[in-house]
Each structure stands twice: as C-alpha cells, then as structure tokens.
Point group: D2
Chain length 409, copies 4
C-alpha cells in the first residue's frame, strides 16, 4: 500500500544515499572547481573516472535499466519505474551523481532505445560500450530553424539512397556532444514529407566521426556550458551511413520516440524533486543559521509560510511522479500518457519556485556559485522547455481530459 | 502498491456511486429548490428522510465510522482512512450526499469523539441516536470575540461547581445548530487559566435544550445559511449540566480535539476533491457544448491549459490526501501531523481555483444557482478558514520542517 | 503633472467623502438589515430616498455625467473621466453610495446612451426622469442560451414590422429590473442575421410595462439577490413597441454599445478600487486589534507581506485606471481601447485577491455579513464576468499588441 | 496631466532612442561576442570607448544627473526624476547603453553621493573624473558573512585612528570592481557598535590601489561574470586612508545611504521596464514568425493571454515607477519611502515573469545567448536581491501602511 519501494530497491536506495554522502558530496565542489579552472574544461577530470569505477564496483551502475524484456536478459534484471524513482530522486541531489552512476540523460534514453529497438549487432556495437561507460552519446532532434515543440516540424533530412542513408540539416541542443567520449549520435530526420504526419521521420544511428558531421558551436544554457558534456549545435552535410543504421525502419521515428518518453520524463522529474528537496534543506539550514533584524531568517515575515508551501509542493509533486511511475509499470505508456505530461508540467515549475525561494533566503550567496542553487534554478527553468515545453504537455493533458466527455456530448 | 482501495471498499465505492447517480442526482436540484422555497426552510424536507432510509437500508450508512477499537466492537467494523477516502470524495460531488449517508460534519467528528472518549452511558445516550440519524449535534468552539485561530484564546468558561459544571460565554459558527433535530452541543470552555496552555480547557456535553443556551442568530456563510443545518451564534448564560457531562476530565479539551483532527480533515479534503472533480467535469462539458467566436469555448485562448492545470492540481491534491490517510492508518496522528496540515492548506485552495475556472467557463450561469458552482466556490473558500486558517496550518508544517534541522545546527 | 484632480473635482471629492462619513456610513448597516428583514425586501427603504434627497440638495448628484456635448448643455457641465474617477472610487467604499448619488450601473450607462444617442423626445421621456432619480432602468443584453461573451451570439430578435418593432427572446442578468421604479429596458436584439457581424443587432427602448415583457425570476449572484435592485431573467414574447423606440437605427447596436464601454468600465474599476482600499483598511485594523499566539495578527507569518502586496497592487491598479480615464478624455475610446480592456482584466482580479486577504484576517467574521467583505469578494468575482469575461478582454489587449508588429513582419 | 515628459526630456528621449537604434543595436551583439571571445574579457573593447565618445559629443551623457542643488551648478542642470525615468527605460533595452551614456550603476549612485555629500576637494578628485568617464567606481557594502539584508549587520570596520581611518573586513558583490578603470571604492564600515542602530556605520572613500585592498575573486551572478565590470569579493586588511576621506563624518553612513536610495531604485526599475518591454517585443515577433501545429505560436493555447497579461503588468509597473519619480521630485524621499520600496518589490518580479514568458516563446533559443533573454531573466532575478531583498521592502511598505491606523486604534 502506498508507494513504498521493494526490498531490493530499498537496499539500493540506502547504498546510493551512502555513496552520495561518503564519496560524492565531499568532492563535488572540488571537482566542479577543477573543471571550471582547467585549461580545457571539456576534458573530464580523472577523479571523475575513479568515482565511476567505484560506483560500478559497488553495483551502483546502470540502475535506470528497465526491467528486462525477452531477448534482453543478458543486459541485466532492471528495476521497475517505481523502484528506480527514489534512486533517481537521490541522484538529482547532485549534478555529478547521474554521471557517476551512468544514469544520466541523454545516454539513458539512448540506451533504452537501443535496448528496445536495436538489432543484436547495434546492441553489440553501441549499447554495450554505453552500458560500460566507455563511450557517450547524443540525441539530435531539436532544430534551430523551426519551432521544435511540434516535432513534426523537423526539417533536417534522412534520405535513403541505395544501401546508405544521406543526412542533411542542422540540429541544436544536442546534449552531451561536447564530451570527448561521445561517439554515437541518434539523429531524427525527415524522410517522406508526404507520409502521415507521424510517419514522415526516421531515426538513424550516426557515428560521431562520420564525415560531414560538424559541431558548429557549444551552446550555453542560461549562461552555463555544462562542461565537459555540453549542448551542441551540429550541422550535417551529406552525411552518409549504411542503411542498416536506420532504427527499426524508415518513417518509424515517432514510434521509437514514444518509447523514450515515459521513463525519461519520470527520471527528469524525480531528479528535479531531489534537487528541490536539497534546495529546501539548504534554505532551512541557512534560514536557521543567519540572523537579521534580531531574529533567525526563518522567523522573519513569510519565510516559514514559504518553507511550508515548498514542503507541500514537493510532496504533491513526488506523489504524482510516483503514481506515474506506477502507472507506467502496470499499464504501460498508453495508460500513463496524461500523467507523463502532467509531471512534465508540474515538476519543473515546482522545482523552479522552491529553488527561487531558497535563493532568496541565501541572499547574494544564492546568486553565486558558492551554492548549487543558481545552477539548480536555471536548470529547472531549462526543463520547462527541454523534452517538450509546458504548453505542449498541457495540450496533451487537456486533449485526454476532453476526450472523456466528447463522445457523450 | 499505490492507493488502490481494498476489495470491500471497492464494492462500497461502486454502490455509493450508483446510489448517487440513481437516487440523489435526479432529485438534488428539486430538493434544494423545495428547501429554498419552503415557508420554513429550516424544516428538513420529508423526501430527504426517505433518501436516508434508503441509504441505510442498502448499508451505505455511517461509512465514516473508524475501525473499531477494543470496547467499541458493537458499533461496527469501520473502514480504514484510506478505504473511506474515495467514498468521502464521492459524497463531496453532492451537497446532499454527506447527510444522506449520515457522514456529514460536524456529526461525524462528534460521533468519533463520543466513540473514543465517551463513557458507556454517554454513548448510549448520545452516540447511538446520532449513529441512527435520529438526532443531530453541533460543536461549539469558535468565538466571535477572540481570534479563534489560536484555540488557546477561547474565553467562554466551563467552571466545575460541585457536581455540576457552569458554562458561560458566546460561540459562533456552531454548524448544524439550526436543524430541529440538533439535540447535543459539544462545548469547549476555559476552566483553569493558570494551567499549562494546553490544559486550560474542558469539553462538555450540553443538551441543546438546557436552560441558558440560546441561539442568538443564524449566520450566513458567504451569503448562504445552509438551511436546514445552519451556522449559529450561541450564547451560554449560567448553563448548568451535571459534572459527568465533562468529556474525559477537566482540562482535557485539547487532547480530545486532537483526536478529531486527522480523520476530519481527510474527510473535508476528500469531499472538496470530489467537488473539484465535479466542477472540472461541468467545466469541460460546458466548454464543449457552448460556442463563441466560432469555436467551442474549450478551444478559445487558454481554456485548454486551464483545464489541464485543473487536472494536474486535482491529481496532486488527491494523492496527498490519500497519502495522509495512509499515514493516519499506519502511524497514527502523531506520524501524520504535518501531512494533515499540508492537505488542509493545499486542498481548499486548489478546489477554490478549479471551481473559479469552472465558473468562468459558465459565464453568468456560473454565478447563479442554476449550477452548484457558486455554492462550491464559496464553500471551498470557507474551508480556508474553517478547521484552522491556512496560515496556522502552514505554521505547523514549517515547525515540523524546521525541527528536522534544528538539532543539527 | 500626475493625476491630481482639478480644483472643482477636489472640492467634490472632499464633499463626497464627508457625505459618506457623516450620512451614509452611520446608517448603512442598519439600512441593509432593514432591507434584509423587510417583509418585502424588494420595496426600497424610505430612509434611502431621504439620503438621495440630501445628496441631491448638496449637489452630489449625477456626478458621473460626462462633459456636455453640443446640444446637451441643458443636462449640465459634467466632469472629465479623470476628474470623476476618484469620486467613483469613493462611492465604491459603500454598496449604497452609488445609488444615493444616482451614479449606479446600469442607470449611468443607460443615461449616457440616451444623452448621446437619444432623440429630444426620448431624452424628455426617459433621460430626464432618470436624471431626477424618479425612475430606474435595466439593460437587456446577456442571454441564458448562448455564450454571451461573444456579443454577436445574441439571438433574441428585434424585427421591424411597419411602424413597430417586434421583440422576442430571453435575456438574463438584467440588473435593476427587480426595483419597483424600473420603467425602462434597453433591449439589444438580432435584426438581420445576414448583415455584417457588427451590423446585425438593434437597440430598442422598451417600457417595462409593455405587454409580453415578463420577469421570469430574479437571479442570485453568488447567493445574493441584491434587493431591491436585483438581476432578472426576462422573457419577451411578441413585444411590440413603436419603431421610433429604436435607438439611432436598425443594426446600430454595436456602435451604441461601444460608446457605453469606456466610461462604464472606468467607473466599475474605480469603485472596485474603493472597495479594495476599504477592505485593506478593515484588514489592517482587524490585524492590529486582534491577538493570536501572543501577537497582533499583523505580526504573524506573512501577514505584513500580504498587506504590502495589497498596497502595491491597489496602487498599480489605480494608476492604470486613472491613465485610462486620462486617455479617454484626451484621445477618446479609440485611443484607449486596449487600456479599457486592461483595467477590466486587472482590477477585478486585484480586488478579489485583496478582499480575499482581508477575509482571511477576519477569520469566520469575514465569511459573515457582519463585515462587507463577503459581499465585496463575491461582487469582485462577478465583475470578472460582467461586462465581458477576463478572457475576452485579454483577447482585445493581445490583438492590439500583436497589431503593432504584424505589419512589420 | 499624466506623466508626459517635459519638452526638454521629450527631445532627449527621441535622441536617445535614435542613438540606440543607429549606434548601439547594430553593434551590441558583436561587442558582447568580442568581450566573450577576448583573450582577456576584463579589458574593455576599444569600440566601446568610441561609442561613449560619440554619446558624449551628442550631449547624451550623465543624463541621470539630478537637478542641481546650490553649490553644484557647475555640474550641470540635471533632469527631474520624472523626466529622466523614460530615458532610463530606454537605456534598459540594452545591456550596453547605460555604460555608453555614463548612466550605469553603481557609478551613478556614487556620483550622486559625491555630488551631495562630497567636499569640494573630493568632488575635484573623484566626481569630476567619474563624470568624465575617465575612471570608474565600486560600492562596498554587502558582506559574505552576515545577512546583509539588514544593513545594520555590517561587521567590517572603519576605525578612526588619529588623522587616518583604518579599514578591515570583507565585502562582496562590489559591482564594477573588475574593470581596469575602477579607481574608487566607497566603503561602509562599523565604527561604533555602541551607538544608535543607525549611527554605528561610516562611509569612507578608498582609492582602489590603497595597500591592503585585495579583490579575492570575481563572482558570477547566475553564472555570468558581467565582464568587463564584474562583481568582486574584496578583503580589506589594515587599509589606512586619511581621515578626510570619511564622507560627512563618522557614524553618518545610513544618512548618506538614504540619499542614494530613491533615485537609484527608480533607475533600476525603469531599466527593468525597458528590458521587459524589449522582451515582450521579442516574444511577439517570435510568436508571429514561428509556426507549430499549423498556426503561428501566438495563436496557440494561452499565448495571447500571456502577451496581454505582460502588457498589463508592464503598464501598471511603469505607472507606479513614474508616480514614484514624481513623488521624489515633489515631496522628496521622505514623501516617497513606501513607493520606493513598492517599485523595488513589484518591478523585478514583473520583469522576471514577462521575460520568462518571452523565453518560453523562444524555445531552446531563449536559453541560449543568441537572444538577450537569458541574461535579462537572470538579471531581473538578481534585482530581487540587490538593493535589498523583496522581503525587506515589503516590510517597509507594511510598516508605513500600519502606521496609518496604529495611532487611531
């Protein structure tokens, strides 16, 4: 009853928490500073690889991996969405943790795609090194020249040509492409503009070093480059890859994209909840320890009310995400479509507001990088656009709501 | 996993839903009109008693009753809070239903108090006729002359005097006191101003017809008198009742009040969720069926976004209340103190906003009494004050939140 | 510089304020109670007529009257919109005052229509007794069966037939029609469904006692009937009036309605600002005088912040209305279209929020009719629908905003 | 009537607008890129100095300068606050413009302090080169180790010692200190902890190159360093300057700070209004030119409503700032204390919300630095803390509001 994790998940939660406290938190600020001050911030810090090795050794690795489907048993017995959710929440408390545990976007989503839609050969070539953390990947969908909130707008092309497919166009916000280990791009392009709206586009596996692929620049998201991962603007000029690099088949991109959506959004949202929880904790600690006008900050004006509102908002948001994870586990994406969009609307907005409050309690410090709050806030803001803007998700929720009554009118 | 009701509850939910659809909804408007147009609106409509009889016959009666504690087995095997919650939600869809099922405030809370704290004699005298629906009761706590949000402010007195207790003072918002069947008042008064803050007040059972009890007037709540139940302002002038009418003992009022709180707030909140759901349904139906500027209203401006936001808000609120009910069941009030206050803040505000949206989609009709929305809206507003104003509950939530960190500072 | 009133207006403001304090405030609660407790609340209280007489005697009468246009000099030298605005604000502090000063909706708008569009004969017959306060009037536009937010939806008909015009259909929210002195209805009906969207409807003067006019019922607005004025649902069955009762000409209704809009909305908004100011004053006084948890309420939690936010919101709203009045004076309605809609969106919402806060500080008292807050709150809510719902006005503002850039795209 | 600028101001407004369009806008992106890509971004771009020279030549220089007080005539005839306000709004449309016109914080505030409180010698030494744009300055008040929202908390010391004053402590958010031309620091320190709360602190002029002054680091504000100006953390270790560098006298810091407040906040707020206007313009243009789901973005969901709300919010905010400027001009700071705090609460929040909406309409582009929106958004956020957090200003507004009624209770 309720959303208590399974015994196996509970044990993992405790070990992840302990790893966070003993291995990651003590070095995180140092590692960020090392990256920031490095001659080349795009080179991953060696200490980071050590953390990964330690996490892997302890079995805290690829925990995002979904429950095995027939034919995928060799990739391990995954957790249910509901069991993974509190682990994702914990990793969200730290900007480093998702990477340390090999549970970061977009690699998780890309691995899921390969797991579910890849051929045995594709799994061997790309999935296995990704699961090993040996390589990294990017997802190339959003485009600078069209309103990408409507994914059918995508105009970059993937045109089959004999036993090859030819790719042209420009993508941006290809996250992770700045990393030196990024070797695989999953590209979505227009193949047949005359097909049904959702059958026009194709997904193709593109090795990063294919001729014609060029990272034009790395983009700051709210002034941060997120080194060493980065967000790239990428041009594709007559890029040719073998036709077998097409995932599933031409025109199947939307079908594949669908599969990525549910769990990916649950992960994003649970991490944001972890971030909001951490921010609330920082706010309370700061508010208790600093004094103005003769009182601890928490006792001034509406600060206690705001702390209460943050607690209420976090709790409601978490329950909605857990419920969504539960629905995904029990009814699949089709039974959770509205909920997946609901959390995507509710959680980033909630997180942004909670973090905003925490910043306010930190005064000038909240704007600096002495605290993780500024990065948390701009990160939460970015997630109101990434993976579909709020407005599109509200549209999905409304459509499903109206459908309940339309027939009966 | 999740908050699925038990098999027993599921069966009751279906029967309550069916009763609502077949027995209550078809006659509700008519019954309200009959009351409104009656020569004396304070006389309950005979048709209402018939509905009660039918509900009782079908076993849809006193479903709020908590799980039996030792010594109370004869009053039946109650439902858990989590199992009763969806039933309460259903009854909230109608203003009549809680009364039809003998599950309305404040009688439910008063019955719980008697069940838990009453002597065998008190149960026989008051609890049994209340459970039978033969009499009604009121709760006399709030006072016009002090800020009653701080319950320790209560100034009306209950002074033991030999084998009697003497009551003086003035109360208001004594809900239900306008009903001709109201025979019992539970009165809270100051006994010892020098005792500890939470040991000064006493609860006393006062028969409605005791000399010195006078209903000075019936109060409109946002312009509605809620006939035939009503909200009274009541003066107590040298009212004398036997000392054995004191519940538990002098100075024990806060201890008793505590026991009322948790379930009562879950009930209020679940009913509001039912009301919000019903309002959203009305909003969508209206928005689909009316046309302006050449389109159904739902397709104009931000209407779909507002419908989506309402869906998200209701879902989050419901999960928080279910989680609170679950905590009450598994950890008792002590383990759910923050959550009980969280829902009391979150749910009425959510309901008020959802209903406001529904009114807006109904245009002028939404302001009239052709739809239940105006009454729903002002009712939700009133619940931001009744049972403790939002601000006090936020204070509770904040205090518990701060306590997590205070020791570690 | 700024929005200081003229010397003449300043003098009137002071006299209106003094009249409010000495004549109206002392008797207002009593007068409301007398109406409420009367055998027939639809009969105006005699004391009310005395107040009107006194106001008129002091020259505080018809102050809303716009500046004279050529041909209307005999109706007096009106104030500019900017000069009348602070007077309207003052009258908004009391529910009675607008009537006492003969400055209440819808009579003001109806008088303006007659002044601007009436023939000499129509002025003599209807305008003069309205200016005298001898009769009252209603405006019959909104319909129960169509979404009236789109005024072109109006389906009741006004069909010329020889030297008569025949009226059929049903209207509701015809404010003022419950008053025994209401003798004139201004009716808007469909004449030519094939004409241009804004040339289909006609306005007709209909004497209240014309055969076929029936007040089907009086509607409560958020549970209040607003006796003795009321809001009626009115049926028109083969109602025949002389063709010269058509205002201006067939198909000219929208043109006439336009002229009503600007000043009427400024008046509504300024009255709401007065109501919000009065509510804030009540909130502060209550918050200073009541104590909970050992402190005056104003010093608890976020109460001071809410008071500050109310002050800021009122000040911003007032300035926007004054600016709109100033634009109406200097550039006419065409130069103030966006602003007139802006205030209609901003002010009722602001007032609703400020009053909500004041209610919260009054606890249960705020829900009762011991304070004007409950009526203020539901009244402000109603104004988010009356005179066009917020959504329609936002649409106007957006259209004008977009037009600034459309040509340049 | 209204807030029309004087003829002189109107002429300046037009020239500033034209300068913005012809001189600044065409090169701004380029200049920002040049700074960003420079080997040393802390070296001002030569092109910038050219712009300044051109602005100065055209008389668009030091326009912020307040109206001359006796003894200051040689520094020119300044504009009233109301006349300068729309010019400040224009400069806010560009991040560069305030610097180009020598009208940027904190130099403006520092120049005002010198103008009003400096000796003739101090004016000659510091004010004149500041007015010339030959040097720059910083203001050292906020401290990392105390809650600086309560300015009486400031713990860094300024201790008179014979004919010197000795300075010790640590400041941060000293804006402008990263610039190579920054030669003057105005330092606020504790002199006499036993004096009256507002008479403990002293302001001292400290040449940037005095031994013991060390910029420990430059702080990012929401990830931006704002090169070449920057925000510094500065340590002062046994810094000794002549006693005549004390402004006015020991213990007079609060008195001096007061004088800075009013106009400085009007400037900040008007610039934010310019930024919000510019963001709204970008939002509308983007919304008209991009298409999703077959429609221009502006016609999707609630976008038009949000554009309307932005227009309404900007207009209300602007009027409140103009009213505040007018009060400062006519009644001085004492007559505008509440309003100065009101705008400081209302305007940054409004700007943050409007810009947030504009970002949302820009999709991923809104997060990048291809548009000024990300910088605008984080800048508006920072201003909810800089110059006093919202909560402190709400406290001022509430205090003044309560004082209206306190005596009468």
């Amino acid at each position: 009853m309720g959303f208590e994790p399974s015994a196996r998940a509970q044990e993992l939660i405790e070990r992840v928490m302990s790893f966070l406290e003993t291995e990651i938190e003590p070095v995180e600020a140092e590692l960020h500073a090392a990256t920031k001050n490095a001659a080349d911030p795009w080179q991953p810090q060696p200490a980071f690889k050590d953390l990964q090795a330690k996490a892997r050794e302890q079995g805290l690795w690829n925990l995002f991996l979904p429950s095995a489907e027939p034919g995928n048993e060799q990739y391990g017995e995954g957790l249910s969405n509901l069991d993974y959710a509190p682990i994702a929440e914990l990793t969200g408390r730290s900007f480093l943790a998702p990477y340390v545990f090999n549970c970061n976007a977009p690699d998780t989503g890309n691995m899921e795609v390969l797991l579910r839609y890849g051929t045995a050969e594709q799994k061997k070539r790309w999935l296995e090194p990704l699961l090993d953390g040996a390589i990294r990947s990017a997802f190339c969908m959003t485009e600078p020249d069209v309103a990408s909130s409507d994914a059918t707008n995508m105009a970059a092309t993937a045109i089959p040509d004999g036993d090859e497919v030819v790719i042209n166009g420009r993508k941006w916000w290809s996250t992770g492409i700045g990393h030196p280990d990024c070797e695989l791009l999953i590209f979505m392009g227009l193949t047949d503009p005359d097909a049904h709206r959702y059958a026009r586009h194709t997904m193709v596996l593109v090795p990063r070093d294919t001729p014609g692929v060029k990272v034009e620049r790395l983009l700051p998201a709210m002034h941060r480059y997120d080194e060493p991962h980065g967000h790239g603007e990428v041009s594709f000029t007559d890029v040719r890859v073998p036709a077998e690099n097409i995932l599933v088949g031409p025109g199947r991109a939307f079908e594949i994209a669908q599969g990525r959506l549910g769990p990916g959004r649950v992960h994003h949202c649970m991490r944001l909840i972890g971030l909001a929880e951490h921010s609330l904790e920082l706010a309370v600690r700061r508010g208790l320890s600093r004094t103005a006008f003769g009182k601890p900050l928490v006792n001034l004006g509406g600060n206690r009310e705001r702390i209460a509102d943050a607690r209420i908002a976090i709790n409601q948001a978490r329950l909605l995400v857990l419920q969504t994870a539960h629905l995904l586990d029990t009814e699949g994406l089709a039974g959770a479509l509205s909920e997946v969009s609901q959390i995507k609307v509710a959680v980033p907005r909630m997180a942004q507001d909670v973090i905003d409050m925490a910043i306010q309690l930190h005064g000038g410090g909240g704007l600096s990088d002495d605290f993780p709050l500024a990065a948390a806030w701009t990160g939460a803001r970015a997630l109101r656009l990434a993976d579909g803007p709020d407005e599109v998700h509200r549209g999905v929720v409304a459509r499903i709501e109206l459908a309940k009554y339309k027939e009966s009118e």
